[in-house]
Every structure is written in structure tokens, then in C-alpha cells.
Symmetry: C2
Subunit: 352 residues, 2 copies
């Protein structure tokens, strides 16, 4: 916990005075003030986060963390548990959605085993930080011990710090874990105070009947474990997941290094909530990349006070929405750095 | 008009059977079916438009057409008329928003003078297709003659065809013209049947009082000219603009060559309405890149039956929203072409 507290304490306010200067520059570029909308807003936020007058987003890193979930024994998912490991191999061989979109965005993908239920064959680029062979079935007791929850967050911090040595200008969160919308809904319900039914959706594609069962499973897990909403680590340990804890660590570490983080979808959102509850200041370093189809994502974003950049009916995870938003974030900083001013281009200003 | 009719007739249905095959392939990629939402939809549309199983969007061209508007005499704009020409020079020297975003997207910008009010200094890459030195003040009679309206559309067709020789896999519409939200609102009102006040906004940033005046000016222009809503060329000539006619020509020409067109904002939307009314089939070749802040854009998109890809509070024009959406369209076709299938990656399928 000391490591996490130290990390959380290291997170400072974004640079507000640099943000004001960025605003002044944006208003003097050859366009009506504010007419590039969210691009301008993103540029300003990225200036504040990085503390650089014209940030450059060259090193783009997507952290795709994998873990399994004991609660899949309750039949909450549309896919068999074995798919988590199979998809990790797919990430490593470059055939998954996130690989395609990362290449398209010019980003590298960091794949980590945070708690897949089987031992994975060693593969080029696979980081193994296995906390355990999947979480326990949270309807029968806590998903993991408190010690494991702390270890998961610390592992995320360590993964980020190791990768940071090669340079990270912007980070994206992503995940893979069959069944992981279930713990994410549980976390969202506990930390936002909403009813489980309001934050639970069909995940990878279960039917209406299975959704009702999933809601009952989550309600039972919360009733059995009584997670303490004022203690994010308690919530993570009782109804969370190893990859979710790892992502919370990634977010905290990024914020402490003044690296902006594009938060992907619903599961990443649950991890962001954990990081936010550990240190509210962290939210200033988050950019909500998109709004997922998964019910409850909008509620998480509202709790974090974040407005999504994209809304493309995505519900895949892996970091795919965040990878797509990289292009928009980069567009913002390029506008700031490359556009002519009214003076330099000899253009008349507004008359009314 | 013969040239336009021939072009319109050359527009055929997208290839529906190829679209079905694309859907089958999308459903077999390593992700829950439909989980990449609009990326999958875009991939399918682009297959149908291009008639290619795996379209490649290498040659990306943004057509930024400029023209002036006599109606600015009525004080409808926040900027002086001279800015149209000044911004054309800015486009040619690479300092405008569209230049930055085109470079970011790997697209080339084609700049054409369709009717700027002054003679422009010849510049590298400037295409001169000046129909006239700005339109006439449409509150006192038609903005242009019917012959000029036909010439504007034909010029757009010619600009596209000339550029097509160098290859165009996807086209974007863009424009510059001080005052051009005014004719666009007039076109939108006439062609959608909505009240002028419902389709008129603050353009580059006029105040509330000036907006009321702008609405009165548009209402007067419509009352004076009585454009015939069943004759798009009549509407263009009476309350349109040269760059708007040019863009309608670009869209018709692109559709006839099976080239997808990303429609930019409100003014591009008015041009898309003109093209659609000339040949309704054209809308199958349009992709709405974004939803502008400009009031009335959503009404135009609804009339065209298009759902915008992005919603970033943009209101700049020039083609900036279309340039940003290029990345998303490309992401869709890359998903289709590059992702592994369940079989190739050895991944278990859905169980429920």
C-alpha cells in the first residue's frame, strides 16, 4: 500500500497557467475562436497535463492487460473462459482488433498476463505479472485477498514504469478477460451508488434472460462481500479483477509522470473509478476516449466528470476505442503547434 | 445540364451482394459480432461503394472550394468579405486548419476558386474555376443565373475528374466563403421544408441580435426569389453559392466513379442536399463525417438519412471534420482486411 500511496501523492495539479497561454494561442489561430471545438479543448488539456507548450504525442502506448474471473462459473458470459488465453495469443501474433487499430494509430501494444487462469506459453512481448490463476468466484467470498488487490495495482505501476523507460507521451488502457463486465458492473454499482441493474449490460452479447441472471449474480456478490465504498482497494479485492487493478495502477503511474491516459470502455472505466477513488486528482489526467454501448459506461463517465471523445457503438474493449481516439488527441496538439496565426497569415479579424 | 444529367445517370446502386459477404467476414473476425459498431458499418458501406472486397483508402483527397457571397452586404457575417481571399492564400501556404488536419490524415488538399470576389494571385496548386466575382445579393434577386448554377456544378465535376487522374480512393468536401452559412440555411429551408429559424445558426460567431437579422435576410431572399423546391438547380441559382454548386458537382462525380465522399459540415451538407435532389441514389455514396454545432446541420443529415461519425463541436468548415473522419473510415477497412478469424487464430466461439 505504501507504494500506491507514494504514487498517488506524487500526482500534482495540471499546469493551469500554461493552459491559459494555450487558450490565448488557440484564439489567435486562423479560425473563428472555439470553432475547432473539442480539438481545442483536448489541446489545452494535453498542455496542462504534460506541462509542455506544444506537446508531441510520438510515443503512444496501449496497455492491454488480461485476467480471468472465477465468477464465470455462474454462467455470466457469452464466451468460454478459455478465450482469455486464446485472445492473449492473438494479441501477441498481431491479429486482434487492438493490433490492427494500434498499427493504424502508430502505437505499440503492451500485453500483460495479470491473472489468466492457465500458464501461458512464453511469447515475444508477453509480460507475466500473474497475481493468481484467475480470481475466485465472488458470489462465494472475495474475488481476491486485499494483498492480491494491492499487488495487482503495484504490478500495473511497475509495468508502466518499465515501459516508460522507452518513452511514453500518451497511454491507452485496454483489457481482455472473459466475464470482466461482471466485476466492472459490481465496482460501478458500489462506487457510484447506482442500482446494479442500472450499470449492467449484455457484455460480449448475452441474451435478456442471461442478463437478469448476471444482475442477480452481481447483487449476490455485493451482498456476500459488503465492499466498503470508501475504500477502493477493498472494493477491488472483493468484487474486482486482476486486470482491473493493474489498469488502476497504470493510470496512477501515468498521472504521476504527467502522461495523459486515454481511458477505453466500460472495464477501463471501472479501473479509472478505482484510481479516482484512491486519488481524485487522477481524473485530470484522464481523457474518455469513447462511450461504450455497455450500459453503465455513461454513468461511470458522469461520476468521473468526463465527456467521451467518440461515440461509435463500440463494445469490444482491448483498448480499441482509446486507440481510435489517439488520432483525435494528436489532431488537437497539431492544431496548436502548426496552424498560422491571424498576424502571420495576414488575415483580418472578426468585425462583430 | 446535359453533362450533369449524364453524370447523375451514371450513378449506380452500391454492390449489395459484396456487402453481404463483407458482413459474413466481419462476423467471423476474432471479436463478438458487431462489437466494433460503426467501424464495421463503415467497412461494409465502403465495400459496397467501391465494389472491392477489401477497399484500400490510400489516395485521400479533400476538395476545399472557395466563393464569395453578395448577401454579406446585408451584414450577415462576423468577418469581412476579404477574409475569403485571405484564407485561400492561407490554404495555399499550408497554415489553415484543413492543411494541418490533411497532413495528419495523409490526405492532399485541392483548393479551387469557384467565385472569390477578387482576382487571386496565381499560386502553386490553386485551381481557378471562377464562375463570377461572388454571387449577387440574394435579397434583391437571384444569387446567380441558372446558367451560372449549371456551370458551378459542371466545374465541380471537372475538378473531380481532373484530380481523379492522379487517383482518389476517398474524397472529402470542404469550403471557404465568408457568409456561406446564409445561403446554406436558405437551401436547407427550401429543400427540407423547415422554417428558416430552425436551420439558421451563428455561423462563424455572430451575436443573438445579428442572428435574428440573418434569419430575416434569408426569409426575404426566399420570398423575393421563390426557389422551386422540386428543382435543385433553381434553388442553387436563386439562394445558393458557387462553392456550394461546385461541391454538389464533386459529390455527383465521386458517386459516378464509385468513390466514397465524406461530407463535412453544414455548408457541405447543403451541397449534399443539392446533389441528393438531383439524384437521390447519390446519398448511398455519402458518409456524414461529423455533426456541426451549426443549427440545421442535424436537420440536413436527417433529410439525407445519414448518421454522423463524429460529434466534436466543430464549426470551422474547410473540410476539417471530414479530414478527421478519414482515420475512422480507414480503421473500418483495416479491421476488415487485417483482423484474424476465429479459425485462423484458434479461438472458441460464442456459447450462448
Amino acid at each position: 500500500m505504501d507504494r500506491i500511496s507514494a504514487m498517488a501523492k506524487a500526482i500534482k495539479e495540471p499546469d493551469r497557467s500554461l493552459m491559459e497561454r494555450a487558450q490565448a494561442r488557440l484564439d489567435n489561430l486562423t479560425k473563428p475562436p472555439g470553432s475547432l471545438g473539442r480539438l481545442e479543448e483536448l489541446a489545452k488539456i494535453l498542455v496542462g497535463i504534460t506541462g509542455k507548450e506544444t506537446p508531441i504525442l510520438k510515443n503512444k502506448v496501449i496497455f492491454t492487460l488480461a485476467g480471468d474471473h472465477g465468477v464465470t462459473d455462474e454462467g455470466v458470459s457469452a464466451y468460454p473462459k478459455a478465450v482469455t488465453a486464446q485472445m492473449v495469443y492473438n494479441f501477441l501474433s498481431g491479429g486482434a482488433g487492438i493490433n490492427v487499430l494500434a498499427r493504424h494509430a502508430g502505437a505499440r501494444v503492451v500485453v500483460a498476463d495479470m491473472g489468466v487462469a492457465e500458464d501461458l506459453r512464453p511469447g515475444a512481448g508477453l509480460i507475466v505479472r500473474k497475481i493468481n490463476y484467475g480470481t475466485k468466484n465472488m458470489t462465494k467470498g472475495p474475488a481476491m485477498t486485499r494483498g492480491e488487490a494491492v499487488k495487482a495495482i503495484e504490478a500495473g505501476i511497475a509495468i508502466f514504469e518499465e515501459e516508460f523507460k522507452d518513452g511514453i507521451d500518451i497511454a491507452c488502457t485496454g483489457e481482455m478477460g472473459i466475464g470482466n463486465t461482471t466485476p466492472s458492473s459490481a465496482i460501478a454499482a458500489v462506487l457510484t451508488g447506482k442500482a446494479v441493474s442500472e450499470v449492467s449490460g449484455k457484455g460480449a452479447g448475452i441474451c435478456e434472460e442471461a442478463l437478469l441472471k448476471k444482475i442477480a449474480v452481481i447483487e449476490k456478490a455485493i451482498a456476500v462481500n459488503k465492499p466498503n465504498p470508501d475504500d477502493a482497494i477493498d472494493v477491488l479485492s472483493k468484487v474486482g479483477g486482476f486486470e482491473i487493478g493493474g489498469l488502476a495502477g497504470i493510470i496512477l503511474a501515468a498521472a504521476s509522470k504527467r502522461v495523459p491516459v486515454l481511458i477505453d470502455g466500460f472495464i477501463s472505466g471501472a479501473a479509472a473509478l478505482i484510481a479516482y477513488k484512491i486519488r481524485p486528482m487522477t481524473k485530470n489526467y484522464m481523457i474518455a476516449s469513447h462511450c461504450s454501448v455497455e450500459k453503465g459506461h455513461r454513468i461511470i463517465l458522469k461520476e468521473l466528470g468526463l465527456e467521451p471523445v467518440l461515440d461509435l457503438d463500440l463494445r469490444l474493449g482491448e483498448g480499441t476505442g482509446a486507440a481510435l481516439a489517439l488520432h483525435i488527441a494528436e489532431a488537437g496538439v497539431k492544431i496548436l503547434a502548426e496552424m498560422a496565426t491571424f498576424e502571420s497569415a495576414n488575415i483580418s479579424k472578426k468585425v462583430k
